[in-house]
């Protein structure tokens, strides 16, 4: 098992400490870790297990149950394509297919350059602007397949500048 550095271990222990008086602290701890690091690998779950007494298998179960939590590092830009019913009937499948084609990744994967992660989401509650795509919190309404290349290009340029 790859070893985490001392600071990272301490940081995770600190996060666990924050919720030590909670009856069911696991969701809050995982939420904070996901926010802090962008993912929750097994070695991190082992530390959470030691600190909370919750078994690794149970933590792993929670992490894999909720699509919000991730086991692998996510890209700089997380593209969430809504595939809820409304978006789907408005052509969301073609939109996500286009993202896959250009980025050469399947939903749930991250591009080799580490820039993009593609997520297939269930309803994000934006049915009025279907099909909707959300990239790092920015929502793109009424997406059309033809817009996809331009959007990707724009983010690539942003990344170069940054």
């Amino acid at each position: 098992m790859a070893k985490l550095n001392v600071q990272a271990v301490q940081k995770i222990k600190d996060i666990c400490e924050r919720y030590k008086d909670e009856k069911t602290p696991l969701m809050m701890i995982l939420h904070d870790i996901q926010h802090e690091y962008g993912y929750i690998p097994l070695e991190v779950q082992e530390i959470v297990s030691q600190e909370t007494g919750i078994t690794v298998a149970e933590i792993y179960g929670v992490v894999t149950f909720y699509s919000f939590f991730s086991l692998k590092p996510k890209g700089k830009y997380v593209i969430g394509c809504c595939l809820g019913t409304a978006c789907y009937v408005k052509g969301a499948q073609q939109v996500i297919d286009k993202f896959q084609e250009i980025l050469h990744i399947a939903p749930g994967e991250t591009s080799e350059d580490g820039l993009f992660t593609l997520d297939a989401l269930r309803c994000i509650g934006a049915c009025g602007i279907a099909p909707a795509v959300s990239i790092n919190g920015t929502v793109y309404p009424k997406m059309e397949v033809s817009q996809v290349p331009k959007i990707i290009e724009q983010y690539r340029k942003d990344a170069e500048v940054a």
């Binding site: 078994t55 298998a57 179960g61």
Partner: protein, 589 residues
Amino acid sequence: MINIKIEGISYQVEEGLTILEAARSCGYEIPSLCAFNHGECNQGSCRVCLVEVVGARGLVASCVYPVHEGMEILISTPKATQARRRSVELLLSNHNKNCQQCDKNGKCELLHVATITGARDDAFKGEHSPTHLDYLAPGLVRDTSKCILCGRCIARCKNAQGLGILGFENRGFNTFVSPAEDRSFADSPCIQCGQCVNVCPTGALMEHSEIAKVDQAFKEGKHVIVQAAPAVRAALGEEFDYPIGTPVTGKMIAALRRLGFERVYDVNFGADLTIMEEGSELLQRLQNGGTLPMITSCSPGWVNYAEYQYGDLLDHLSSCKSPHQMQGAIIKSYWAKQNGYDPKDVFVVSVMPCVAKKFEKQRDQLKVDENYDVDAVITTRELAKMIKRSGIRFDRLPDEDWDQDIMGDYSGAGVIFGVTGGVMEAALRTVYYKLTGQEYGRIAFDEVRGHDAGIREATIDINGLEVKVAIASGMKSAKPLLDDIRNNKSPYHFIEIMGCPGGCINGGGQPYVKPCFLPNEDDNILDTYKEKRAKALYSEDERQIVRQSHNNPQIIELYDKYLKEPNSHLAHKLLHTTYASREGFNEIK
């Protein structure tokens, strides 16, 4: 007591019961599947036990629904019977139905409820969720194509071992039960005790069968020697419909002989040998300021746990191999020489109540001169399978006796190894003698006997030396003892730890105790079977003329002619071993 009605008939039942339990006390067995042992598992997930309750909205799951005053329960209405059948059909629709190949066949609770509910196997057709297979661990195999997601294994691992190796992964149709990361049991801190196998209602969790290995050894013309552990005789009869707790030693020996084994030995000889070595080791530690408390090392589940969780305490473990490994080493050295055999042509099969022994026997530390002490380990259940397929009518067998050459004698002390507290009691009988030159008056050390999950302790006065001992079985019970040692707070000299709650009689390789297949046992058999099996062993101890390991004449002869004395150089080479700390979630290449 409260008043309820079932099928319109009035009954009085205890308060606080579930409908399932209340109905049982009134003489109804509602078909149920996932519920287990007084709510040890009560996810209410399988929906097989649905009944109608007058006034309730929809059908209710009787395994989790509590009874209340005036409740009217209907079990046999068309609505309820059809719903139960439908629930089973839905489970079958995502089930790998190759029943005739399944090792659980005959003891499968899913097949049982399918039969009694009249479920049709093709009622729902469609996609199956992805299958996850694990055949890497020597002790256990996992096949999720047979899993019904009841959660019993998860509960048992937590309750018995405090480990929680297994959990649900993913969600919805893709949910499966697995160690974290869909790892093998071999790549997680699983101790391979097999308690999960004992509660699994289907063939999703099984022992890793080694019957084929034994067949192969016979085929190759090897000298195939068998040795059976004490706990096997206390439970093997259950596979042949004997009441739980019937000792079947003589018939078991007769069956083993008819299966073609060249010699049939009792691991009790190895147990006596273990006591000679372990007793001497304890005395040396007591007298020379060695690491105390010393902890027994007979249980491979416990040894696995120690190596994973308490790598800093391994000096506390006795360096003694477990009895069947000791005996295997003697068979391949002294015995082979006496018979003029090359150890490479000798194949030692151990019949064990245990699946962790399957892991143990392939440890590199348990080799002497490149030969493994033991070549194959089969469980009590696997032995029953071998007997059945050979057409042997177990109940018609005569009672026979063990082969007597070199390793035929055994003491009562060896027999009780199979029950929690037994190794401790056996050791105390010998240690007392070594220190005082006299036998302990009572022979039975009642203080160390019991079946509870908790810790038992006793202080034995030996010539003014107060020996403090403690006993625990199941890792959840053992953990506080170990934490005390880690924190330098342990008052004990000697601790016995067994991997499974109740000791080997309740091992992961023993016959399944499933009330639905045991119509002639008491309703509370899940509470009493451990005690019944233990009694079978204690009664055999009482019947033995020699009840202390050091008085076993063949043990005395073995030391005279070969080993010289306990802890001698040769004894160390053959009978002692080492341990190594292990990482739970190792790096997978």
